[in-house]
Amino acid sequence: MDVLNIPYEKYKLANGLETILFKNNSLPFIVINIWYKTGSANEVKGKTGLAHLFEHMMFQGSKNVAKEMHFRYIQESGGTLNASTSFDRTNYFEKLPSNDLELALWLESDRMGFFIDALNQEKLDNQKSVVLNERLERYDNQPYGLAWEKIISTLYPPDHPYSWSTIGFYRDIESYTLDDVSSFFQQYYSPSNASIVIAGNFDTAKTKSLIEKYFGELESKKITSSPEVSTSFLKTIKEMTLEDKVNLERIYISWITEKAYSDDDASLEILSDVLSGSKNARLTKKLVYELELAQDVNAMQFSGKYGGHFMIAATAKPGKSLDTIKEIIFKEISILAEEQIASRELQRSKNVIKSNFVYSLQNIDTVADMLNHYNFYLHEPNSFTFDLNRYTKVNEDDIRKSVIKYLQNNFVDLRIVPVKNNGN
């Protein structure tokens, strides 16, 4: 499809900063999206969550930008902004009227180069407290909120960088010092470890010279090398039950699979859709509609730079047994290991995926982020068509083979059940 071909220009500054320009003048605004090639996978035990805390600190001001002013400048100019941290990377982005491109470049370059100058204990204490509250709000106080952390810490070996969650453990968050923060900056926040995408309405020559002006003089640092990781499967089946403030029991079954963009990644994603993507999906149809054992069921393939896993979660209706649900899930898996799925099942998933590619282009922020994403994982920003073709190429037998290769191995069986002495 033509619309999936995103024309871009990519080059490197002398200090190693990768620059990707995508011009689209249909609306009068512009997106600046920076990926630092570091995330929680670069952390060490005892200091989990540091990459994410660091992301917060990046909004606390830099040499020429006072605390709170980063947000204020962008919002005053009519822009929106945010950032996010994952296992593999940290991104920062602004979207604003095109006449304020220079403002965003000034802000981003100031914190890329001169973050340390404005760092102090008061800011760190404040953001530790904010992040602890973020953890309480989004994980500890959410029904089933601790499942992810429990699963990955059991599924991946203890030395694997995906064995702890990006938010970090409570005690680790409490322990960060100013030294932790500044050495994280020194180790990972370098122009040579980042890529910047400018997307939207701009003049190319002028934009290039502004990027050179603001980022060109920033010094590169030597980057600590990435963790070495090999895929390792579970040696035994692991079963765990956790009590939580929930009203319905839920089971999670998880298997180790493959890295992002590896050979089976796309067929595993299609498999998740075949299992739970719609009313007709196999597990949804059986568990939710025909047998009414489950209130909901969800399958997903997670994959990143250093590994991946496949997960099926099902919430039991009151009085229904998780054992029965699990039995049915495994029965379906053994059917999938023997018989190819119907060609219509496959076609349905492919058509939905194809359309979603087009729908996702509506936001220029998404396009900018995807250019950085593809550049990071595939070293080619314009990989929309390549990516879509990964799915179109999957055939019925690929799905069967993936099921055999991954879903018949050892797994983690985690159950979240209501607290026994629940007063509510």
Partner: protein
């Protein structure tokens, strides 16, 4: 040579923005269509809006509207529920149905090449839903379990309880969209069919289309599927006798919760009242964005929360003001003190700087609200729904810029009433009560979630 980084760079010139053109026309049966042609991607998005939200749920039938939206796509025309879903997917279409307190919305987003086929399915859901007994009962069982499930979600409990205490026991906005357990148990299949017949009619509905399709084609396509639809029903809008209640703090116990969900506010004027722009500016300064007074105080200074915001929300027949956050349990009253103190302060008005910031932010951000097919649909819906003036979007920037500091300050004094603040706290009541000094905080009521909606 090092550059001078000490000052914010100047903006370079003005930006040019043209609002998308919105047309409206009627089908043969007078069904209203709002349409915007948008050709940057091969996408068509269509919304069917019908006045059948949960405010129309009769007494003892709370949950009827939601049950209709849950059942309506379980089979239509010649297709059963599974066939229908299969056909939508083969077309790569996103299809969804939802309900809010005022309206139900049926949404389709699809690639242009599949639009005409998808439109047939879409219209059959609206015109020929099966609403059969088995599907209804299955959805009803699902909804009852859903109600059980959401009781474990502190933010949901806080939102629902807050609205209930705002609107009191007697109005149609006092109840959750999902409905009440004891009512749902009594709702029967024929009630949903009756509700459908009463509400789904050309005169009670409208359609919004934003997409890569020209005016003649869309008009013809819509006339083909909807043009002969006849159903003369008249819908009575429930009466709203809204009143404010005296200041009170409600605590809903969540044993061992590590945070307290906080909602604070009261009823205010409706969306189409004259002080809308003043309130919008005041809210932006107060709690409407990251560098607002509330967030700078409770998050960036005190670290009590991951985030706090305030808003003026608008239903069709009512408006309300609210502050919303969640804080670690130990800081519940510390946070309350700061929020109450900021509420008192905002009544004294905003500064010239704050006014300029808010005006700049709102007016310059305006073009960003018209980027996606969804955003444009929402803007059109907003305009129809609140009966905003024809030139509402054309005059938006001028309207914001015409507001003076005195205007905002007068509105702040009039529209924020500390004596009428309803506070809802969802958290561990033992931890909360230990901190709450009655002399300082006034009336406190502890109540179980299950006891709130007994009527």
């Amino acid at each position: 040579m090092a550059i001078n980084r000490s000052k914010r760079p100047q903006s370079s010139g003005d930006v040019n923005f043209k609002l998308p053109v919105i047309l409206d026309f009627e089908l043969n049966n007078r069904l209203n269509i709002y349409y915007c042609e948008k050709n940057d991607l091969p996408i068509v998005r269509i919304n069917f809006l019908v006045n059948s939200g949960s405010k129309f749920d009769p007494v003892k039938f709370k949950g009827l509207s939601t049950l209709l939206t849950m059942t309506i796509d379980e089979g239509a025309g010649s297709l059963n529920a599974f066939q229908l879903s299969d056909e939508f997917e083969i077309l790569g279409a996103n299809f969804s149905v939802s309900s809010d307190p005022d309206i139900s919305i049926i949404t389709l987003q699809v690639l242009t090449e599949n639009f005409i086929e998808a439109l047939k399915l879409f219209s059959s859901v609206i015109l020929k839903p099966h609403l059969n007994d088995d599907n209804f009962n299955l959805e009803k069982r699902k909804l009852l379990v859903r109600l059980e499930q959401v009781k474990a979600e502190p933010d949901y409990i806080a939102d629902i309880s807050y609205e209930h205490f705002l609107f009191g026991n007697q109005t149609a906005y006092s109840f959750p969209v999902l409905g009440l357990e004891q009512d749902i148990k009594n709702i029967q299949h024929q009630d949903v069919r009756h509700f459908y017949k009463e509400k789904f009619s050309p005169s009670n509905s409208s359609i919004v289309v934003v997409g890569n399709i020209d005016r003649d084609t869309i008009q013809q396509a819509l006339n083909e599927v909807f043009g002969n639809w006849k159903n003369d029903s008249s819908t009575r809008i429930p009466e709203f006798n809204l009143q404010k209640f005296p200041k009170n703090i409600y605590i809903i116990n969540k044993e061992d919760a590590v945070q307290t969900e906080i909602r604070i506010g009261h009823l205010t004027s409706k969306r189409n009242d004259k002080d809308f722009f003043q309130k919008q500016i005041m809210n932006l300064v107060f709690g409407g964005q990251f560098s607002s007074r509330l967030n700078l105080n409770l998050r960036e200074k005190n670290g009590y929360t991951y985030g706090i915001h305030s808003s003026f929300s608008y239903f069709k027949e009512a408006g309300y003001f609210s502050v919303s956050t969640s804080v670690d349990s130990e800081n519940t009253t510390n946070a309350l003190k700061e929020i109450f103190s900021e509420i008192t302060k905002i009544r004294e008005g905003i500064t010239e700087d704050e006014l300029r910031f808010a005006q700049s932010s709102l007016t310059k951000k305006f073009p960003l609200n018209f980027e996606t097919y969804r955003q444009i649909s929402l803007n059109i819906r907003n305009k129809i729904f609140h009966s905003l003036p024809d030139d509402y979007y054309e005059s938006y920037v001028d309207n914001i810029n015409s507001i003076s500091r005195d205007d905002v300050n007068k509105t702040a004094g009039d529209s924020i009433q500390p004596d009428a603040l309803i506070t809802v706290l969802v958290g561990d009541s033992k931890k909360i009560l230990k901190q709450l000094v009655r002399e300082e905080f006034g009336e406190v009521t502890s109540i179980g979630y299950d006891d709130i909606f007994i009527h």
